[in-house]
Symmetry: C2
Subunit: 167 residues, 2 copies
Amino acid sequence: MRTGGTLADVAADQPHPPVLSAGTVAAVLPALALREMRLTPHRRAVLAVLEHGHRPLTTDEVAAESAVPVSTVYRILAELVDAGVVARVAGAAGGDRHELAEAFSDHHHHHLVCTECGIVTDFDPSPALERLIDKEVGAILGATGFEVSHHVFDVRGRCRDCASAGA
Amino acid sequence: MRTGGTLADVAADQPHPPVLSAGTVAAVLPALALREMRLTPHRRAVLAVLEHGHRPLTTDEVAAESAVPVSTVYRILAELVDAGVVARVAGAAGGDRHELAEAFSDHHHHHLVCTECGIVTDFDPSPALERLIDKEVGAILGATGFEVSHHVFDVRGRCRDCASAGA
DNA sequence: AGCGACAATGAGAATCATTCTCAAAATGAC
DNA sequence: GTCATTTTGAGAATGATTCTCATTGTCGCT
């Protein structure tokens, strides 16, 4: 083989398993090391799928795209959530979704959750909103004794597809 | 019986099932009528429990306090969510929770979700934050084609009890 | 008061996502 | 290489939620 192989040919050979970016690898390794966890091929595959998803994915989506067995995906996701590398996102329905934790991803963002098909998309908040949220959230501990770890700001409704299809 | 019965005695006979307030009944009836649903004793009991809970309750909590069979509670909650009378709240774990929808409850509020024990408490946002959120959310449709129905602003962390017990 | 149509109920079966189990395979240290 | 440890994976076990369907309750009508 490989006679007149082009880049496209190579890409066609591996349509599914995406590759984990070097930057993410560098960021993730120390976090895993803290827990004495290795960056195994499977974990790498799961992270790669999440990184390339650019939106929270269901466990099934991760399993399908990473070609890792379901039971292993469940375990790996749980471990990664534990290690703080992955965030669990409560979607509309059809099971929880996961995405790279913000510290390992590009930026702070929020979610548009479609209550019809359950898909979740990322969207960026304005800095002004974030500043106000942070201020507000900071006051909670004093007022209620509740120890804040982070906040979730989701917007629910119908995604463009469901809105145009539905009515 | 009923010889020297006092109010306290009567109360002791029905410690659990709370009563649905007249205001809520008035607000809920038209919403049910739209769906040709009746305000049956069971539905009334479920709503009463939610109204008196003052925080999102799990299905089991509702079943236990309303003395309505579990399978019926599931169906009733689903119907009421459908009718827009009840809101489903994604808690930390241990199943979804439900509370009266904002339109039928006292006010707009958000949630403090304890990631340790899963309990969810209501808290009030500041008007300034709400105004900014509304403005921001209003811009989403134009920018993304996403048809917003409402927003969810949850704060996650450890409740006072778990924080003091845990460490 | 009686009837008929339909809404509501509930006990248990069925389903579905998630977790657990445990033996086999991979890895890293020496 | 060899050992100790971590990771994996197929399937069983669990637990929450949904479904089924025969029974019961309710409303409108007479």
